[in-house]
Subunit: 329 residues, 2 copies
């Protein structure tokens, strides 16, 4: 009987499947990805992340069964390219996801996703050197441009679909038979080469996406929301007033409201309350019943009325805040 190297396969198997039922735990057990997820609907979350590690590169599939907003960035010097499933609906930095759209993101740059139910996105993470060496071998080293921040690219619908499907097939195979990748270095590097070739072939065809007028509107609305959100998060304990937000962001109240409604589908206060609820949950999960009380955590995030807080929390997460605090061993 074959015994796999436990030091490798246990600490970091090539294939990881995570079912995510709690937006507060998206960051658990993943080192190169930084995500902050907020549920925009109250139904129970059933999201999933599948990672296939191919040497220094990796393929990551994200799916979600409900509307979410996430802010995601990739670290450890990895570049990210993202393709979207045919059913995926949502926005990236305000830009509606559309057929043929691809994302290119520099290391540590942050993308703001708003994701609708039925979301499927395939991310390809890899170190820039992999691309450079791959191209150098083929003497095409000047063709690669390092993305600045998060860039939106456009290819033909079929091309984008091919890229997504390639990833989907890889992930499906990996889920059905993890041992194939977990135990075979050869399988992994073969896939890695194929990944580079498929990806670069697609990128070769890619144009910069030229946003139209309504696109730019959405983008600026997304920025308004981001600014308001950042401001609200910096004023953790204070009561929320839209007036303050508007002054901080520099737009009229009406514009702020329209922007939130357009981007998040929620009114400003409704969304920011939800955001704070998520922060409280993260705080509750990060401590023990001995070191904190629910009211202290709630108070930190501006919930002055315990009854109201408790009700909103229950409605959002399906359990009482006290249960969250007690549940963890």
């Amino acid at each position: 009987m074959k015994i796999p190297n436990p030091g490798f396969t246990l600490v970091q198997p090539a294939v990881t499947v995570e079912d995510i039922n709690d937006p507060a735990t998206v960051n658990a057990g993943i080192e190169m990805l930084d995500q902050d997820a907020v549920k925009l609907q109250s139904q129970p979350l059933r999201a999933r992340r599948v990672i296939v590690r191919l040497g220094a590169a990796m393929v990551v599939l994200h799916t979600s069964n409900l509307r979410l907003r996430t802010r995601t960035s990739v670290h450890q010097g990895l570049l990210a390219y993202v393709a979207f499933g045919p059913q995926a609906r949502g926005t990236v930095n305000g830009l509606p996801v559309r057929p043929g759209m691809l994302l290119a993101a520099a290391p540590d740059s942050e993308a703001r996703f708003v994701v609708d139910a039925g979301w499927e996105a395939m991310a390809f993470l890899l170190p820039p050197e992999d691309i450079r060496t791959h191209l150098a071998v083929r003497q095409r080293d000047r063709e690669f441009r390092m993305p600045q921040g998060v860039e939106t690219l456009q290819v033909s619908e079929v091309r984008a679909r091919q890229l997504f499907d390639w990833g989907k097939r890889l992930v499906d195979t990996a889920v059905l038979d993890p041992a194939l990748f977990n135990e075979s270095e050869a399988e992994r590097s073969a896939a890695q080469v194929e990944l580079l070739e498929t990806l670069l072939a697609t990128l070769d065809m890619a144009d910069d996406f030229e946003p139209g007028r309504s696109d730019r509107t959405r983008q600026s609305q997304s920025l308004i929301v981001k600014a308001a959100e950042d401001h609200a998060l910096s004023q953790t304990g204070a009561t929320l007033y839209v007036t303050d937000l508007c002054k901080a962001v520099g737009v009229s109240e009406r514009t702020l409201e329209y922007a939130f409604k357009e981007v998040m589908g929620l009114t400003p206060v409704a969304y920011l309350i939800r955001l704070r609820l998520h922060r409280v949950r993260q705080a509750l999960l990060a401590t023990t019943p001995e070191s904190t009380t629910v009211s202290a955590a709630a108070l930190c995030w501006g919930f002055w009325h315990f009854g109201e807080f408790s009700r909103a929390y229950k409605d959002c997460f399906g359990e009482l805040p006290s249960d969250t605090l007690l549940r963890k061993p």
Copy 2:
């Protein structure tokens, strides 16, 4: 002297006139309709229901001399279309009844009516196949859309009036001369064809009703009330607390109060007490003096103080609970 076929006319005559003086007995002797009525005023009830059966279809007129709330659903696979009398005032699922408004309800879907004194509503119940075959004969089978749940339609005021008046004339004729329909199959099927033609002609003109802002508010208030009511009914024996209701429904106390006042015209506790009184009455009417006592039935529904219960019961129904229990032989 002519003797009608007793096996038919007794079991199910085509024309039925029921005078309803007791909200607890609305369901008696009617198989396709499920109604739960609650008096919102204390005066004696004098409601009436006239049914004219035309083959598988039927025309049902409801009138009431005082404010009522009913939850109604139609079974046996029958579709329901409802037109309202010119004097009818009230709400359906929170939406105010207005001129030109029609209702279309799928089988088993529930409509929450709040009905003011002087109510007149004409319901047309028929199996979907009747409509399909009727249209198929005229080669217009694609024009019929099965309603999903309870839908609100809008036609011109005169059209709606014509539909209502057609039903009113039919019902008036049937009340004055029941034998006409009871004994003549030909008369019934002629009326059935006319019903289909009148109804479909009206439906042809119907638009989906677009609720405005205040409409949507009423709708959500109606949902709040429904949720609170359902919760209260699931907690039969427990003491009522507004706080609990609010937690169950997920709104603030003030909102709950406004919702009840707006929808029912009563405060939350006042309404829910009335609802429980009705349930006790149903229980009392459903048993014999040997098998239950008044206090047992009252206790089941959370009335701990017999004096208060008795007084409220008398005020609502005009008789003492003990008399209700003894009255039926």
